[in-house]
């Protein structure tokens, strides 16, 4: 018989805040030490990992916990990235960068939104879009949902390419203010994991798990399927929007096709490889895959074998599916 560790009951006030406080303290002490000890290149990688942790963890809310396989997550990241960028972009720079149609939203020539409200707005807009798209699309089952959400991603990227007066089309936006750093990225990592943890420890999270396990049963126990599917999809989209905004303000340049299929593939396989039924599985997958990418990149360039990283990712994915379907942190749970 398989034992699953779920009995820890954090459902008291101190049961929530003590573990979170300890975890948060530990995280930032470690980051502080890293910041002192490690060089900038490695800190850069750690920051990128943080951004992907937010993306992968939030995607896992639908793909892992609710059993809705979405391939549209980067669409929401794109929305978050563009929204926050357009808000933080200096009005005076807009004309210079050929973005004339942009509303000057609040303030004069040198005004620009502060980072936090811009970032939050990006997340909220992504969530609103998820609400609108989710209502029709989430009625579809497994495979259809995968293709429809992939279609959503493609629609979003082509729109970003097509609406030139807002987005500068395929050439993308450069000289984005550099706001994201190790600290605010990891604050958002902590927030994402905390909120997801709370969702999973309360009624909505249990409803999502129920939907994954058996829609028939969930329904007959009073769980409104659409409501909780939307709940998962929209919360996931919000954090995707945040991840997108952090990403844009970290790399300082974005182009529509950055957010298309290959990024989707990375983010989708992170939870699967790390373990999609564990709160920290996606984070582990993200760390592993991104670290691997930075490790192998020099080799790839030196040898001139482009595609090596993706090739290894794909082989890893197929191997995990065949031999360890629960992922690295997953317990073998193929009981029938």
């Amino acid at each position: 018989m398989i034992k699953v560790n779920y009995s820890n009951k954090p459902n008291t006030f101190s049961g929530i805040w003590i573990p979170f406080g300890v975890g948060l303290g530990f995280l930032f002490v470690v980051l502080g030490i890293f910041n002192l000890v490690l060089d900038n290149y490695i800190l850069h990688i750690i920051t990128v990992i943080g951004i992907y942790i937010i993306a992968a963890t939030s995607l896992n809310l639908t793909n892992g916990y609710t059993g809705l396989f979405s391939l549209g997550h980067t669409g929401f990241m794109l929305i978050g990235a563009y929204t926050s960028v357009l808000l933080t972009y200096k009005v005076s720079l807009r004309a210079a960068y050929n973005l004339p149609s942009l509303p000057t939203l609040l303030g004069g020539a040198n005004y620009q939104w502060p980072f936090l409200p811009a970032l939050l707005t990006g997340g909220v807009i992504a969530a609103i879009v998820a609400m609108i798209v989710g209502y029709p699309v989430l009625r579809l089952r497994g495979h259809y949902l995968a293709v429809a959400s992939l279609g959503f991603m493609i629609i979003v990227t082509t729109m970003a390419k097509g609406m030139k007066s807002f987005t500068r089309g395929a050439s993308g936006i450069q000289v984005i203010p550099h706001y994201s750093n190790l600290w605010n990225v990891y604050i958002w990592v902590a927030i994402t994991i905390f909120v997801l943890w709370r969702i999973l420890q309360s009624a909505p999270g249990r409803a999502m798990l129920a939907i994954r396990e058996s829609e028939v049963s969930a329904q007959s126990q009073g769980i409104n399927l659409m409501k909780y599917k939307l709940y998962a999809f929209v919360s996931g989209a919000f954090f995707a929007g945040i991840a997108g905004g952090l990403y844009a303000h970290f790399t300082r340049s974005i182009r529509p096709y950055e957010f298309s299929f290959s990024m989707t593939f990375f983010i989708v396989i992170m939870p699967i490889i790390g373990g999609s039924r564990n709160l920290f599985g996606p984070a582990l997958g993200a760390s592993l895959l991104i670290a691997m990418r930075y490790l192998l990149k020099p080799a790839e360039e030196a040898l001139g074998v482009y595609g090596l990283v993706e090739l290894i990712y794909a082989a890893l994915l197929v191997s995990v599916m065949l031999w360890r379907p629960g992922g690295i942190l997953g317990k073998e749970s193929r009981a029938k």
Binding site: Y144, G162, V305
Partner: protein
């Protein structure tokens, strides 16, 4: 506004593109019908077919017909391999694991090509006879006619195969019930392998068509046509092979019309329009145009 000749030209172009989609959708529908799998790896066969033909004809200077035959065979073989390695063990497990695995196989093949051949696109030269331009009421090249005729021939052969041959009937039987098929004595594994081989062989051939038609091939050329082929299956009606073909032609026409008749800026949206159409169809008629109602 538009002359008759322009309109016919667009329709013709739409049919050529639609032929390619229809052939892809054919194989996709076959595999989906049997395994319930959206085979993302189907798109990779297009790339494999295109590069295989390119090397055989231009690097090894094989005769055209032989190059085509070898391309098709290689496609079939890759289909066989992917089923044997990737999917067989996962059958009967959670439905999504097949889908995720097919994503993995797609990315694997795509990057294997990128790594082994080139990350840069190749110019695809046609054998000269295919490039001859014919100017009449509408303008076209011999390759266009080649695509249309090949498509028709394949469809007829495929139709006869599925309708008449023992294995074809077994494929339809398995699509209805794997369990019953096993009961009456059908070797289910063998038939499933065959359907992958047939679908992949056809997809490899479309790779050649794509290259010959558009003059450029690259490691990631197969993704979009592969996904669009599945959209064609859904729009036409899951479980219906004629539906898949119809869906393929419909999407081909719509994409060409998007570019041909809408204002210039709209051509960017041609893929987006396909998916918008998909979502609309799924909402209004979830079973597709010719689809049967799936039982509970």
């Amino acid at each position: 506004m538009y002359g008759a000749s322009y309109i016919y030209q667009q329709i013709f172009n739409g049919i050529v593109l639609g032929s390619i989609y229809a052939l892809l959708a054919l194989g996709m529908a076959l595999v989906y019908g049997i395994l319930g799998l959206i085979n993302f790896a189907h798109g990779a066969l297009i790339t494999i077919g295109a590069f295989c033909f390119y090397f055989l004809l231009f690097k090894f200077n094989l005769p055209f017909v032989l190059a085509i035959i070898l391309t098709i065979s290689l496609g079939g073989f890759v289909g066989f391999l992917s089923e044997a390695i990737g999917y067989r063990k996962l059958r009967g497990g959670p439905g999504l694991s097949l889908l995720i695995t097919s994503l993995g196989i797609y990315i694997f093949i795509e990057n294997a090509i990128k790594l082994l051949i080139s990350p840069q696109p190749y110019a695809f030269f046609n054998p000269p006879f295919l490039n001859r331009i014919i100017n009449s009421f509408i303008t076209f090249r011999v390759i266009d006619i080649f695509i249309i005729i090949t498509t028709i021939v394949i469809m007829i052969c495929f139709g006869l195969f599925v309708k008449r041959s023992k294995i074809g009937i077994a494929m339809r039987g398995i699509a209805e019930s794997v369990e019953t098929a096993g009961l009456v004595g059908i070797n289910v594994n063998q038939v499933i392998t065959w359907s992958f081989v047939v679908a992949s062989a056809i997809a490899a051939l479309t790779g050649f068509m794509w290259g010959a038609k558009y003059g450029q091939i690259s490691y990631n050329m197969g993704f979009m046509p592969g996904v669009i082929a599945f959209v064609a299956v859904v729009i036409g009606g899951i479980g219906s092979i004629p539906g898949a073909v119809l869906g393929g032609f419909l999407i081909g026409l719509i994409q060409i019309f998007t570019v041909g008749f809408l204002p210039l800026g709209w051509s960017v949206y041609r893929d987006a329009i396909v998916f918008t159409l998909l979502i609309i169809v799924l909402l209004i008629k979830p079973m597709g145009i010719l689809g049967r109602r799936e039982s509970m």
